[in-house]
Amino acid sequence: MDEWLPLIWYGVIGFAVFMYVLLDGFDLGVGILFPFASSRAHRDVMMNSVAPVWDGNETWLILGGGGLFVAFPLVYATALPALYLPLLLMLIALVFRGVAFEFRFRADRSRRFWSTGFFAGSLFASFAQGIILGNFVRGIRVEGVSFAGGALDWLNPFSLFTGVAVVIGYALLGATWLILKTEGDLQAWSYRLVRPLTVGMIGAIVLVSLWTPMMSAAIAARWFSWPNMLWLSPVPLITAVLSLWLWRAETRRAERAPFLLTLGLFLLSFIGLAISLWPNILPPDITVWRAASAPSTQLFMLVGVLFLMPLILGYTAFSYYVFRGKVRHGEGY
């Protein structure tokens, strides 16, 4: 049992982080696209399309961080100080973006300020998350149980690139979400964004897939040795299929497929990263077992997760159901 608990927790946290990317990803994406919309009416609709759900979406981020604290405190206590400044950027960006939902609707003279706050907050939060992701892939310098690197270790070309990649990916999620939730001009505009953003996202995936094996011999061995190459080949193959499908879906003017397919791309990238890093949770050498908290702690919390998670998923789904359908201007939720 004690052997298995960390594995289960790895799955739980993976699930929480994925849910976060899935849910907050599209609402951050909407924020990134926000200033480029053609009219204030469009921007109001864009914001209204996420206003009732953004808070719930962001809760998954707290669960991700909190989950690390519960299950893998060594990661929590080493990665967070190491990523001090990018986390600061993310938090401050989320502060501005979060209050912008309420503030922008109350403002008259300061409306532009909060529109900018919403955009910049969304952009920088996404960029910071990408930097954080990049550093998780590259690894962090740890001695004993403490972070042992410098304040600017996180600042490296690879992580800056993953930062940009996440911004592009979230923007694509945002655009496909808008296709789902809007109609008319705004929807047509969102359709036009899909292709360039898809190209960007695929480009980023390919580049990261080449860059990581070049950075780490272990990752190269994981993917490019026989018979791994055979077992793992579905990952790139399905990614290719989904991208083509996404391209076609745009031509067909499908409404739901683009969003779902983009999620599929995210899921595959996720799986790909997990394969590269396994069994480390924080490279180069902190494994899921080494980072784990006391078995009693993991068990105590797991019981809660097993009972409460279905409930949470249930009422989250219900709230999306309440706010189903297209958002129209002037109707507002």
């Binding site: 206003a51 009732p52 759900v53 808070d55 719930g56 962001e58 809760t59 707290i62 669960l63 961080g65 909190g66 989950g67 604290f69 519960v70 405190p73 060594l74 929590y76 206590a77 080493t78 990665a79 967070l80 100080p81 001090y84 400044l85 986390l87 938090l91 401050i92 989320l94 502060v95 501005f96 979060g98 209050v99 309420e102 503030f103 609707f105 109350r106 403002a107 008259d108 300061s110 403490s146 972070f147 410098g150 304040a151 908290s293 006391a294 009693s296 702690t297 105590f300 919390m301 809660g304 998670m309 949470i312 009422y315 989250t316 709230s319 309440v322 706010f323 002037g330 507002g332 939720y333």
Partner: protein, 462 residues
């Protein structure tokens, strides 16, 4: 100059958590108040309650938003700034925070969407249920976070091995000795804080002869509620203090400004405690009362600070004064609530303009008391993060002082901006008042239910 990450982290943590607590304190009480208003609306079908509920919900939305964003900051502080503390205590404390996320945050956040935007999309009963879930969520949240904090104050149910805390008994971890007192005292504090905002706003409307009917309803509700809960808070505070006396006597010695062990200790009303000379200046005291309060015996023995070596003493000056500020605010609340209830009983409430002015002047007393109370508690437990077991200086992260300085300045700036705008918008919503009903008694649904701040502030027709 060498930048000390410890000192800067302490300043930063104190600042961001103090900022954060202002909003939960208000929203915990307000969420319950909205449930009451929604229930009255369902029961009486009087549009007045609906207007009131929507008015207070608008204020709720803005405060809640600020609570959420500053809370997300909090949940990362433990790792970024107190990583050694986190590593040592995670086994015990982290699940408490984890349960807070699972039982409270998801509940609040999800049903908040329905509460704010769902009035026309769900049946009235379900809308009420959503308000209830948000309120329940805020209370669950208080439960878990205070359990975590109380465990740091009075740790129990753990085993300490190689500097790492391991859980031994979950029930005694959650229900650690100071938790029941802290929870009761804090929830009462949040309710009182909100009650005084309601009292203050209602009295302000009455003074300006606006929304008379609805403001009278809320003013009465607030005053009668406070007339019961404010004295209750005094009682709860006394119990809390006795519990602290048992588990953290050094904190009590600092709160009371006692240096020597004494029997029949006085109660200091005024003094300037001086840590370097180990004495008080300008002391004004009531003999024997200190012992009477703490031991319920006028000649009981109470320990003084000198019993502890200087590096184990909390900073006495701050703790001494913030404690007095809190108690003063508590007594002030009792006075206002009782005086108001008396006027209400004599049917002179509306016409007592002086008293109404006093009420609007008292609007922020809850916030002041709350911050003062927390500062007493948190600085009073120095130099420990886990009382008696883990020192604050052994808790801090191995980060560079310059990084912490940057983050501290960034938070100061960001919070100043959102606090400034936030209070401005809150003020705007308040001035707009409870929105008027449409002639046919139908509810007026604005473009967005929350866009009340911008709307004309037409007075209600009586």
């Amino acid at each position: 100059m060498e930048l000390d990450p410890l000192l800067l982290s302490r300043i930063q943590f104190g600042f961001v958590v103090s900022f954060h607590i202002l909003f939960p304190a208000f929203t915990i009480g307000l969420a319950s108040f909205i449930v009451v208003l929604e229930a009255l609306w369902l029961w009486r079908r009087d549009g007045l309650f609906l207007r009131l509920s929507e008015f207070w919900t608008r204020l709720f939305a803005v405060s809640f938003g600020m609570g959420v964003v500053s809370g997300i900051v909090m949940s990362y502080q433990f790792g970024t700034n107190w990583s050694r503390f986190s590593h040592a205590t995670a086994n015990v404390i982290a699940p408490l925070l984890g349960y807070e996320v699972l039982t409270a945050f998801f509940l609040e956040a999800t049903f908040l969407g329905v509460l704010l935007f769902g009035r026309n999309r769900v049946p009235p009963g379900f809308h009420f249920f959503s308000a209830l879930m948000v309120a329940v969520g805020t209370l669950f949240s208080a439960f878990w976070i205070l359990s975590a904090n109380s465990w740091m104050q009075t740790p129990s149910g753990y085993a300490l091995r190689d500097g790492i805390f391991h859980p031994a008994d979950w029930l005694s971890i959650i229900f650690n000795p100071s938790f029941p007192y802290r929870l009761a005292h804090m929830v009462a504090a949040a309710y009182l804080t909100t009650a005084f905002v309601v009292i203050g706003v209602s009295a302000w409307f009455l003074r300006h002869d606006r929304f008379r009917r609805s403001s009278l309803v809320t003013l009465r509700l607030g005053l009668v509620f406070a007339a019961v809960v404010a004295p209750l808070q005094l009682f709860l505070g006394d119990l809390h203090g006795l519990n602290t006396f048992e588990h953290q006597p050094a904190k009590i010695a600092a709160m009371e400004g006692h240096w020597e062990d004494q029997q029949g200790a006085p109660l200091l009303l005024f003094a300037i405690p001086d840590a370097s000379r180990e004495t008080n200046h300008l002391a004004v005291a009531i003999p024997l009362l200190g012992s009477l309060i703490l031991t319920h015996d006028a000649h009981g023995e109470v320990p003084g600070l000198k019993r502890y070596s200087p590096e184990d003493r909390p900073p006495v000056l701050v703790v001494f004064w913030t404690f007095r500020v809190m108690v003063a605010m508590g007594l002030w609340m009792i006075f206002v609530a009782w005086r108001g209830s008396w006027l209400l009983w004599r049917r002179r409430l509306e016409s007592s303009r002086g008293f109404l002015r006093l009420c609007s002047f008292s609007l922020p007393v809850g916030f002041v008391a709350l911050l003062a109370g927390w500062i007493t508690t948190e600085i009073g437990r120095q130099p420990w993060t886990v009382y008696g077991l883990l020192r604050t200086r052994d808790s801090v992260s191995p980060v560079e002082g310059s990084s912490v300085l940057i983050s501290l300045l960034a938070f100061l700036l960001a919070y100043a901006v959102i606090f400034g705008f936030g209070t401005y918008y809150l003020g705007k919503i308040v001035r707009g008042g409870p929105s008027p009903a449409m002639p046919d008694g139908e509810v007026h649904t604005p473009l967005r239910p929350l866009s009340g701040a911008g709307r004309a502030s037409g007075d209600e027709k009586e």
